[in-house]
Homo-oligomer: 354 residues x 2
Amino acid sequence: MNARITKLVSRFPWATSPLLIGAPMRVLSGPHLAVAISAAGGLGFIGPGAKTDDLKPDLETAKELVRNADSLRSASLLPVGVGFQLWNDTLETAAELIKQYRPCAVWLYAPKDDAEFETWSAKIRKASDGTSIWIQVGTLGEVKRLLDQSQHPDVIVVQGAEAGGHGRAEDGLGAFTLVPEVVELLHERGVDIPVVAAGGIVDGRGAAASLCLGADGVAMGTRFLASSEARIGKGYQDEIVRASDGGLNTTRTLLYNHLRGTFGWPKEYAPRTIINQSHHDQKAGTPFETLKERHDEAVKAGRGWGPDGRTATYASASIGLIKDVLPAKEIVKQTHKQMRSLLADLRQPLASKL
Amino acid sequence: MNARITKLVSRFPWATSPLLIGAPMRVLSGPHLAVAISAAGGLGFIGPGAKTDDLKPDLETAKELVRNADSLRSASLLPVGVGFQLWNDTLETAAELIKQYRPCAVWLYAPKDDAEFETWSAKIRKASDGTSIWIQVGTLGEVKRLLDQSQHPDVIVVQGAEAGGHGRAEDGLGAFTLVPEVVELLHERGVDIPVVAAGGIVDGRGAAASLCLGADGVAMGTRFLASSEARIGKGYQDEIVRASDGGLNTTRTLLYNHLRGTFGWPKEYAPRTIINQSHHDQKAGTPFETLKERHDEAVKAGRGWGPDGRTATYASASIGLIKDVLPAKEIVKQTHKQMRSLLADLRQPLASKL
């Protein structure tokens, strides 16, 4: 366990153990956020752009920011990762950018079919052989299929059902069950691939719990939406801080994709969002055309977000645990600190009475 | 944290820290299981009977078993707990039995409305003032309402959505999010009530993770279905050991309640079960009457359980992590041991590199 945690983090020489990762949230995780996370001793990922081409200016900015960061400057690869949504990113463009900028890691996600993981992995390894390949899954079946492929990923990201944004629509499980299940499957198959837990982790408690469940590193997404560096609208960010009780106030639904004109996600996925007026109106039977009109009006008028808002507010089920906007550096430091003190504290009652 | 864990376990003088609890599974958690768990240094609960009256012989047996258990004999109250499903248990009968047998704890669950918690608590405190009152919740809203009542419970059991059997039908969250949310709410309100985590915990990993998330004790249900002492049919127990991948192979549905002729559960609840032929046939459009005929035939012919079976096989989403039937004592000891070694092991990478 120990050795596994150390092994994963040691691939990223600037990082503090255990590896704490900023997830590649589409558009929201820009270069400023990613570099700030890495500079604080974590590993930040830049999220997919609206188009794959959009990644180029982001990588250029990241390169520039790294040049000014003492702890990162000497890294042999670009000390941030990049995420791709395979179903709507362009492999050719991605491979060119990876070749040019050599990010230390890529995080692959949401293929139209699992075979795309192989195509992408092969091309990326050719473009930059030092770049480690992370593949995100939300079910045990996906891991089984990955292990049947000719090349294994370098890291498997196990995303629990608490995750914000797009996750498994129906067959996903909480990290609580899914992480140990994946770890056991890998162990049974004799396969040594590090596991990163994701989904609903927003602080040192969830991070420490993930390590107990068998993860070797921990990724946070939504927590970084409430960071100074997130590329996010103020109304959206305010909601992340305001909202609580994710069981009551978040849900998985395709409605907000459709309201924003996004179609084409593989059918296995649906996003978790904070519930607002569009969802309530839909439940009350309002037809889609009317919902769409109201949505577009609200967005135009700057009233997209909030409990009376109408647009997508993708977020984790753990929103109730996020109460402030902080610099990414503080989030990384606090999470590491809380993890450490929790695990130190918890040894005691176990040791004393047995 | 430390102090809180110690405080909870110290109420049960025979128990090892942190408190490990056998959940009161209806009918399945009998006196042999409950006493074996307590005798191993945990706290076993007897589950509700088919009728409240059925509890009497169970309590009589428990009393007898305790008399023969060295570590339990001197306890001032009966060193096992008792669970009640408020919507179909009879308070008068329950109160009489509690007065007569004085179990150390009662676990209250599934009222028709939340006010029943107050009625039951008041009557139970009168019947046996040493008996500690545990109330199970699956949402933050329930906790808020509990805190508005005149009397607080002695323990709040927070059941995550991974749980087997009956849990919240739609608004439940995984333990990963729900446990820290409840702990924070209690803290914000300045209320000092211990929190026990439940739902999907089957070993030392889930137990240690629960402590990281802020729980003061840990309850396991499904794991004890695969114990020598469980009051369970062989076909059912075999399924618990055989089944895996809870995301794919378990679901929440009312179908199996209805096939068994059980109606009347409060609408907020639905049970998690291992999927079998009845579920598949229902999805394929088979009418209920036909499902019911097939169900009754299969049960009569001793083919109720198994992938081709047709009857209720309630179980946690974590079934994939349960691989053997063990004496309850072994389960308690192994879980404590794994928890301890995990937490000891995990301190290292945190301490070393920061």
